[in-house]
């Protein structure tokens, strides 16, 4: 029965693709792109069916090599894992479909290794989501991180140094997580998540477990780029190739957030991290500092990709705030924001990529009404994504913020309510700054002549359909997710019941 093997199939698909791409490329040149698209399409279909199956039936538990848990390594495909896996695979499918031109432009002769390592990254990310074993999770974190360092380092001139810094910080994060796993293993003798959740309540006030929680949360916090540990993020996202930024920004850090969901809500339990230890309060505090800091830094940036990178720091803050509030509404807001932010950020980073390919820059100070007229569909998509980031209904971004606001009211955390409202205002400042330039900024008289020439030569497809369609698709996705948010929320509700 193939459905029972589903949890193993998804990471193995990508792993096989990572190995097959170099081999097939020997026989048939330039086949890397089509294999990558095919495999991510297959993975999206499989994980879509998997989500439908686990939602209507029961959780799939797959034990590797027939070793029964808790001795063997187990993969658990429950609603949360299926949901996040579907988000990862759909976003990566769209971004990889878009990547053909971007990769040709930026990495002319290194196409094949680029796609092979991309597959490895996706194998790692899917593995993190599906595994039910805390040590196996460490291994997948390292697989995805190492692939990520490589994908970042092939970008602009300064990218190797950005990647090197990310490597140092990221390895410290993973090592701290590993140390925490060691403490938990010494105390409980098991690495299986479900088994840990059963054993922990009896010993969860011992110093060893408290140290373990601290180490694991701070280690994963570095990978997720929660506020004071975000230092590696802006440089890495700015100097990476466009496709890498569009791939890692929407899903890379979200997977870190998923690990926090898994650890705090499912292994340690809400009671433990919100009432017995102040972990939740600390996360919420740092998250709100990150929201304000990221938004203010985003306002100060002159370059679109760098602005989006800082806005990512702020948006991860929302997810972390939802975790830190430690109530069911906060959980809904955080998981919904994982989905919504993945769509919004992928859309915005792809637009930055399109501008770099077509115009050669993504410098905000050079944006004006001419650019807006030259790329009407691209900037329509940009407007939708920007309004969604600000949180205007019926865009998807409104609903995740709405649930976060409800969560702050529910736990009477008025300070955090103020932070969310203030940050929406700051988001509006840095996105309207661009919208104002594109739709309203008048140009000087000598530029008008250029406009006349331009009017007779309309750019029909804005640099090609292969660049435009993924962007429009993501923008449409933002509206659709907003309109159908009720059914998504009821799915998220079933995750914790």
């Amino acid at each position: 029965m193939i459905i029972r093997n589903l949890p193993a199939i998804i990471p193995l698909l990508f792993l096989a693709a990572a190995l097959l791409i170099p081999l097939i490329n020997l026989l048939k040149k330039n086949s890397a792109f089509s294999i990558a698209v095919f495999v991510s399409l297959l993975a999206s279909v499989v994980s879509g069916y998997g989500l439908y199956y686990v939602d209507t039936n029961e959780t799939i538990r797959y034990s590797f090599g027939g070793w029964q848990p808790p001795i063997g390594i187990e993969y658990v495909y429950d609603r949360l894992a299926a949901f996040v896996a579907l988000v990862i695979n759909v976003i990566s499918l769209i971004v990889i479909t878009h990547s053909l031109k971007a990769v040709k432009e930026e990495l002319s002769d290194r196409e094949m290794p680029y796609y092979a390592i991309t597959m490895l990254l996706l194998c790692g990310l899917n593995g993190i989501v599906l595994t039910g074993d805390i040590f196996n999770l460490y291994v997948f974190v390292e697989i995805s991180s190492l692939a990520g360092y490589a994908l970042i380092a092939v970008g602009e001139e300064r990218s190797p140094f950005a990647a090197f810094r990310y490597l140092l910080i990221g390895t410290i994060g993973a090592s701290l997580y590993l140390l925490g796993v060691g403490f938990l293993f010494i105390m409980t003798g098991t690495l299986n998540m479900i088994n840990l959740a059963q054993i922990l309540p009896s010993i969860n006030e011992t110093p060893t477990v408290i140290v373990a929680v601290t180490l694991m949360v701070s280690g994963i916090g570095i990978k997720t780029a929660i506020f004071p540990m975000h230092g590696w993020l802006p440089d890495s996202y700015t100097y990476a190739p466009s496709t890498t930024s569009a791939l890692i920004a929407p899903i890379g850090t979200k997977v870190g957030a998923y690990v926090l969901f898994r650890l705090l809500f499912f292994i340690f339990g809400i009671d433990y991290f919100s009432r017995i230890l102040p972990v939740g309060d600390l996360i919420a505090f740092f998250a709100s500092a990150g929201i304000i800091f990221g938004s203010i830094m985003a306002i100060a940036q002159k370059e679109l990709k760098r602005m989006l990178a800082y806005s990512s720091v702020a948006q991860i803050g929302y997810i972390a705030l939802g975790i830190g509030l430690a109530n069911p509404l906060g959980f809904i807001g955080a998981v919904l924001h994982v989905l919504n932010h993945a769509f919004m950020k992928a859309c915005l980073f792809l637009i930055a990529a399109n501008l770099r390919i077509n115009e050669g820059h993504s410098d905000i100070s050079k944006f004006d009404i001419k650019l807006g007229k030259k790329y009407p569909w691209t900037f329509a998509a940009f407007t939708i994504a920007a309004l969604s980031m600000i949180g205007l209904p019926p865009m998807a971004g409104f609903f995740s913020k709405w649930y976060l606001v409800l969560a702050t009211i529910d736990s009477k955390a008025w300070f955090y309510l103020g932070v969310i409202l203030l940050s929406s205002l700051l988001n509006a400042v840095y996105f309207f700054r661009i919208l104002e330039r594109i739709y309203m900024k008048k140009y000087s008289s000598d530029e008008i002549k250029e406009e006349v020439v331009f009017a007779g030569n309309p750019n029909k497809y804005e640099g090609g359909l292969s660049l435009l369609i993924p962007v429009v698709l993501l923008a449409a996705g933002i509206i659709v997710l907003g309109l159908f948010n009720a059914s998504i929320v009821s799915l998220i509700n079933r995750m914790i019941s």
């Binding site: 460490y138 190492l146 380092a153 090197f164 490597l167 390895t171 410290i172």
Partner: protein
């Protein structure tokens, strides 16, 4: 009580010192290769931590032999921490490989691995 804390757990104290040395190297050293050496020392500290946690005196390898009764679990060493660390060592080697590859890229572009000079040349 304090002498007990030091004498009975001296191996853990050693590991803590090792990790601090590694962390110091990563943060304070200006040369990128020395930073990587610090990173490796830090990772080694964690590997030793796992191995130290699995120490058991007067126990034998976890292979069943008729001379040692298998009903007595205390007679066997727990093999799992060692196995986990084999994986962690492999991960560490892979990290080291990627790190050195990045250093080669940096050196080819800027002809230096000294951090302040590197930052100067990147402007």
């Amino acid at each position: 009580m304090f002498s007990e804390l030091f004498l009975e757990y001296y191996d853990y104290w050693f590991i803590i010192i090792l990790m601090i040395v590694g962390m110091y190297g990563m943060i304070m050293k200006k040369n990128l290769v020395k930073k990587i050496i610090g990173l490796t020392i830090f990772q080694m500290g964690i590997i030793l931590f796992y191995v130290a946690s699995a120490v058991k005196w007067k126990a034998t390898v976890p292979i069943y032999t008729p001379s040692v009764p298998n009903t007595e679990i205390a007679n066997y060493i727990n093999p799992l921490p060692h196995t986990l660390m084999l994986t962690a060592i492999v991960v560490g080697v892979a990290t080291l490989g990627v790190a050195f590859a990045l250093l080669i890229m940096i050196y080819n572009r800027y002809k230096t691995l000294h951090e302040p000079e590197l930052l100067e040349r990147m402007k």
